[in-house]
């Protein structure tokens, strides 16, 4: 199983250019709204037509601008879970799922398979309700069931949790992940939520203004984002210009400090990033005196803004975030950072 995508599309002033592959894995596409995530999925599904490029699924050419191939969506065998689930409003949950089984001509088999899917997804008790009567979580499962009975060769999820209440999201993310762990085909999930992407995905691609910036194994992406844009999209709060001063040392003019780094520094270094969670009061490496300028309390964490003692006066404060369990009686007068957690951005 492999999906190969290499497409370009111009829509007004927006330019989408993306190339990636998806094996039998849970692939995330992370980006802000309007970055081209959904457009990418729509191109794969055949709802949007790229200007040029190629899309191949399991050796089947879905789109090829050179060979003038452009299969209509219904021949692509690509499952698409829409953000609003797009359940047919005038049909019951069960009828919606039966729609995914239209290719099965035997009526009895069709009903058996629909019932088995509803059993698996635990939605038998809402079988006769209409989409308007379902909760967000139920609607999501009905929509997913309708797609899974259709047996697509690729599953695409477009912001699957965006329509749900915040407190339900985590629970449903865990459920969906378990449910799809037995799914033996590729899954692509589009999201703007980095936590969601981190929890769900084996690998993540970061997209910004229509360009796929990086695609890496999930932990590696967060540990080494590689560029300013990716660092920022993966939630790095502190990014500052920096220049190389040694094999494992950089100078940050804004903060007026020299930082030791874990990785070798390349000559073309542009900036460094330090995640808000990376600062430690007890850490001896990269330890510099600071002054806390503002604090904000959250339910389980403290968010502090501080400046380095020698920091340029016009530059922005640095964010530090830590669990309430580690709150000190007196605010620290210096903070350190493990060299491995100094992100090198090019």
């Amino acid at each position: 199983m492999a999906l190969e995508v290499n497409i370009e599309k111009q829509a007004g002033s927006f330019h989408l250019q993306t190339a990636f592959t998806c094996e039998k894995e849970f692939l995330g596409i992370l980006g802000a709204s309007g970055s081209g995530k959904s457009m990418t999925l729509k191109c794969i599904a055949g709802i949007e037509k790229p200007d040029c490029g190629r899309i191949v699924l399991d050796g089947r050419v879905l789109f090829d601008s050179d060979k003038k191939i452009n299969l209509p969506p219904r021949q692509r065998r690509v499952g698409y879970l829409f953000q609003n689930y797009a359940l047919f409003p005038d049909m019951t949950a069960r009828q919606n799922i039966l729609c995914g089984l239209h290719a099965e001509k035997d009526r009895q088999k069709r009903e058996q398979r629909a019932d088995a899917m509803m059993e698996l997804l635990q939605i038998r008790d809402v079988a006769n309700l209409r989409p308007g009567q379902l909760s967000g979580g139920q609607a999501q499962r009905v929509a997913l069931g309708r797609i899974l009975v259709n047996e697509p060769e690729l599953l695409m999820l477009d912001e699957p949790f965006a329509a749900l209440d915040t407190h339900l999201r985590l629970k449903l993310q865990v459920e969906l992940k378990n449910l799809l762990s037995g799914y033996d085909r590729g899954i692509i999930m589009v999201t703007h939520d980095r936590d969601e992407a981190f929890r769900m995905c084996d690998r993540i691609g970061v997209i910004d203004e229509g360009q796929m910036l990086a695609m890496k194994e999930t932990r590696e992406l967060f540990a080494d984002p590689g560029s300013r844009a990716v660092a920022s999209i993966t939630g790095c709060k502190n990014i500052a210009y920096a220049r190389k001063t040694g094999k494992h040392e950089v100078f940050v003019p804004e903060w007026n400090i020299y930082l030791k780094t874990g990785k070798d520094v390349r000559d073309d270094l542009k900036a460094v990033g330090i995640r808000a969670h990376s600062f430690r009061p007890g850490e001896e490496e990269n330890r510099f005196p600071i002054t806390i300028v503002r604090e904000m309390e959250e339910p389980f964490e403290w968010v502090s803004e501080f400046v380095y003692k020698e920091q340029a006066s016009a530059s922005a404060a640095v964010w530090w975030r830590y669990s309430k369990a580690f709150r000190l009686p007196e605010p620290p007068d210096a903070l350190g950072v493990v060299p491995d957690e100094v992100l090198l951005l090019y």
């Binding site: 599904a45 969506p73 690509v78 698409y80 797009a86 047919f88 005038d90 239209h102 697509p152």
Partner: protein, 220 residues
């Protein structure tokens, strides 16, 4: 009493309503897909009969279907005669009622969530199936309203009808042309009868719409 005008009016209204139902829906469906400029031009042309005086529509219909015009001659060869004949009433009613169907259907289609059609396509459902089972079902309220309005308008059509098929008792007379004809010839009692018939039909149509509405709200 001769009830031919009632029969003729209902016949003309029913047939033109069926024609307008399909042509209006398909025009609305395809117009929604056109590029903006083309859509704007087509929109003006298709809606024009709604704002033009019906006599102007009748004039154009005579220009097209007149016995000495190419289209009229071609139809005459096929044995179809529209001018001064009741099928001409259908032509007149279709032209005048079409914009009502077209505009209400287009409004309904424009508020349709296109994700529904796309999700159907990715499930492998055919566009025809999606059109009838999803799009039309979702838009049924607007479509129904348009159909009823078109039927009522066809039933009450006077201007274009009188120009195209005139008034021949027992041949082309409709309820509305009969009202005028009887009143003109000082048969006030006869005119009053047909006015009441007209009122009764219109009231029945509106009542039917309201009942359908209520059933729809109570259902689901």
């Amino acid at each position: 009493m001769d009830l031919y005008p009632l029969y003729n009016s209902l016949r003309i209204a029913a047939i033109s309503c069926v024609v307008v139902f399909f042509t209006g829906i398909f025009a609305a469906y395809y117009a929604a897909r056109l590029p903006r400029v083309l859509k704007g031009i087509l929109d003006v042309i298709l809606t024009l009969p709604m704002v033009l005086p019906p006599t102007v529509c009748g004039y154009f219909l005579l220009l097209i279907f007149g016995a000495r015009r190419p289209v009229g001659m071609f139809l005459a060869d096929l044995g179809i005669k529209l001018v001064m004949n009741w099928p001409g009433g259908v032509a007149a009613a279709v032209v005048v009622a079409f914009p009502l169907m077209y505009r209400t259907a287009r409004g309904a289609f424009e508020s349709f969530d296109e994700n529904l059609a796309w999700s159907g396509q990715t499930l492998g459902l055919s566009n025809t199936w999606i059109f009838w089972h999803v799009r039309m079902r979702s838009c049924r309220q607007g479509i129904l309203a348009g159909t009823v309005l078109a039927f009522a308008r066809a039933l009450g059509e006077y201007g274009a009808t009188s120009m195209l098929i005139g008034y021949t008792p027992g041949r082309t007379a409709t309820v509305s042309t009969t009202v005028y004809q009887l009143w003109r010839t000082n048969d006030e009692q006869g005119a009053f009868f047909w006015v009441m018939v007209n009122l009764a039909i219109s009231a029945a149509v509106l009542l039917a719409v309201n009942l359908l509405e209520r059933r729809r709200k109570n259902g689901t």
